[in-house]
């Protein structure tokens, strides 16, 4: 991964814009099976990161990712904060040890495992992990960004059929079936935004 400050600042801006654009939709998904705040939560987190984007972009990539994670944790709250925060912090820590394309896949796997530990959750629980696992599998396969994005989107969509075992949606029991998980949805949106940038700027 060789992202310079310009890339990083652009990616932060892209992610923030994407979440802003879909905030209402994310909250609507969360209203159906949760408490209706996922859009607001994610917006708050991305706004906080965006406000610090210049300082963050000036850092080496590992430190920048760790910082983004911390900003997310300290600003989002709720379930999404610790989960996205852990993902980014662990990614940064891992890349701080070894920052090669091979290492990236392994680091991502580790970071996702840390998210699962934090959430005491796993595949099929109807959470953002149900997007992270398939994305991670595509990264291992070195798939093209467009393919990864498409996979993320369909993974998010497939949470619709699941019964939630974690998060607020799990309180609904079988009534959680038939609705896409908001965390999975935001995760797919962010993945697609990032992949889109790579597709445009680093044609593989």
């Amino acid at each position: 991964m060789h992202l310079d400050a310009t890339d990083l600042a652009a990616l932060i801006g892209l992610c923030r814009a994407e979440i802003d654009r879909h905030g209402e939709h994310l909250s609507a998904l969360d209203s159906a099976i949760g408490d209706g705040d996922h859009g607001a939560n994610m917006r708050r987190g991305l706004e906080a990161v965006f406000a610090e984007r210049d300082a963050i972009a000036a850092l080496p990539l590992p430190a920048a990712l760790e910082r983004i994670g911390l900003v997310l944790v300290m600003n989002i709250g709720g379930a999404a904060g610790p989960l996205y925060g852990t993902l980014l912090m662990e990614l940064g820590r891992g890349l701080g040890i070894a920052d090669t394309p091979e290492a990236f896949a392994a680091t991502l796997e580790h970071a996702i495992a840390a998210v699962a530990r934090r959430g005491r959750s796993g595949p099929g629980d109807k959470t953002l992990l149900d997007v992270l696992y398939p994305v991670q599998a595509e990264v291992v396969r070195r798939s093209a960004p467009g393919r990864i994005a498409a996979c993320a989107r369909s993974a998010a969509h497939s949470t619709e059929a699941m019964q939630a075992r974690r998060g607020r949606a799990s309180f609904l029991g079988p009534r959680s079936i038939g609705h896409e998980d908001p965390g999975a949805s935001s995760c797919a949106l962010l993945t697609a935004a990032i992949c889109g940038y790579f597709e445009e700027h680093r044609p593989s």
Binding site: D35, G36, D37, N41, I76, G77, G78, A79, G167, S170
Partner: protein, 333 residues
């Protein structure tokens, strides 16, 4: 739903400020307004700290004071506070005996308090009690433990009183975990809620519908059914509570029942008292005679219409903790 509000971003902060100003003899803001704490800490006492999303007022900030909480951390509406708030509360209220964190069992709350405990582990002795009292989310529905709902007041009151009497961290944790088997709550909603930044209600109930088994975040409940008269509603809530309490506790004649009727924010006292009377009759008909009662609006879901019943089967010692003096904005005797 219209709200008495200036702007969604300032809703929680302005409400907390009002609470502090209305009760400045009892509570003050902590540093950077990250939490609310007792005005006068009791040195050498375990710091009892709780918190959660806003929208449940007076829980938790309204229970800060002598005999209950030392600090309460409030997040955005229905959103757990962030770890920095919780760490700051520990740093400011731990007077040497360590910190007891009381956390309602929501993934967000559990994770944020857990991260805070990890971050502060080197500076503080910390134990955590997870509150799980909701009858609607028992093992049959969810493997991950019940939600923490209105029974949280009982846990906070008893642990606060025990800490005030000098109980140590380990003993408090043990007491707190023992309470989870003894307390069950069950709620009904007559109307959904709208978040401050979203006029749409989280669920839309028709004039002849109600949601049974709701929590305190405006989320839908277990089932939607036809609206019914108060006796039928109380029976339904009461039966769920009885079904989810351990039979050996229900059959234990030495236990002292406490009955709590809690309004969700939009239900007025006239209806809450009516519900109390019917709930009392219901439980008495099942051989359970409450010796202590509490009726009011304590654990809310913004302005949701509806209420929950909570039954706690306490030992005589636990009952004495309930009766111990308390001086907080929302509970005092």
């Amino acid at each position: 739903m219209k709200k008495i509000m200036n702007a969604p971003e300032r809703f929680v902060a302005e409400s907390l400020e009002g609470l502090v100003r209305a009760h400045e003899d009892l509570v003050v803001f902590g540093g950077e307004r990250k939490f609310i704490r007792r005005r006068h800490l009791a040195p050498g006492k375990v710091a009892v700290i709780s918190g959660g999303g806003a929208g449940h007022e007076p829980l938790h900030s309204g229970f800060v004071g002598h005999g209950m909480l030392d600090a309460a951390c409030t997040g955005h509406v229905f959103t757990s506070p962030t770890p920095d708030q919780i760490v700051a509360a520990m740093d400011e209220t731990d007077t040497g005996a360590g910190c007891l964190l009381i956390v309602k069992n929501y993934d967000g709350d559990v994770m944020n308090f857990e991260m805070a405990a990890e971050m502060a582990a080197s500076r503080h002795a910390i134990e955590t009690v997870i509150v799980e009292d909701d009858a609607a989310t028992g093992p049959a529905v969810r493997s991950r433990g019940r939600r923490g709902v209105a029974g949280t007041i009982v846990v906070e009151k008893l642990l606060g009183a025990a800490a005030e009497r000098g109980a140590e961290l380990g003993a408090l944790k043990e007491l707190g975990e023992g309470l989870n088997a003894r307390i069950r709550s069950m709620g009904v909603a007559l109307r959904g809620v709208a978040m401050p930044n979203n006029p749409r209600e989280t669920f839309d109930l028709g004039p002849e519908e109600m949601e049974i088994g709701v929590g305190i975040h405006g989320e839908p409940g277990l089932t939607r059914t036809g609206f019914a008269d108060a006796d039928a509603i109380i029976r339904r809530l009461g039966e769920a509570i009885l079904a989810e309490l351990p039979p050996e506790l229900l059959g234990d004649p030495d236990l002292r029942p406490l009955l709590l009727v809690n309004g969700f924010g939009g239900t007025p006292p006239i209806e809450l008292y009516l519900a109390y009377g019917l709930a009392r009759r219901f439980f008495e008909a099942h051989g359970i005679v409450p010796v202590r009662s509490l009726t009011g609006t304590f654990v809310t879901s913004l302005d949701m219409a509806g209420l929950s019943l909570t039954l706690a089967l306490l030992t005589p010692d636990q009952l004495a903790l309930w009766g111990a003096p308390v001086a907080t904005p929302a509970l005092s005797w």
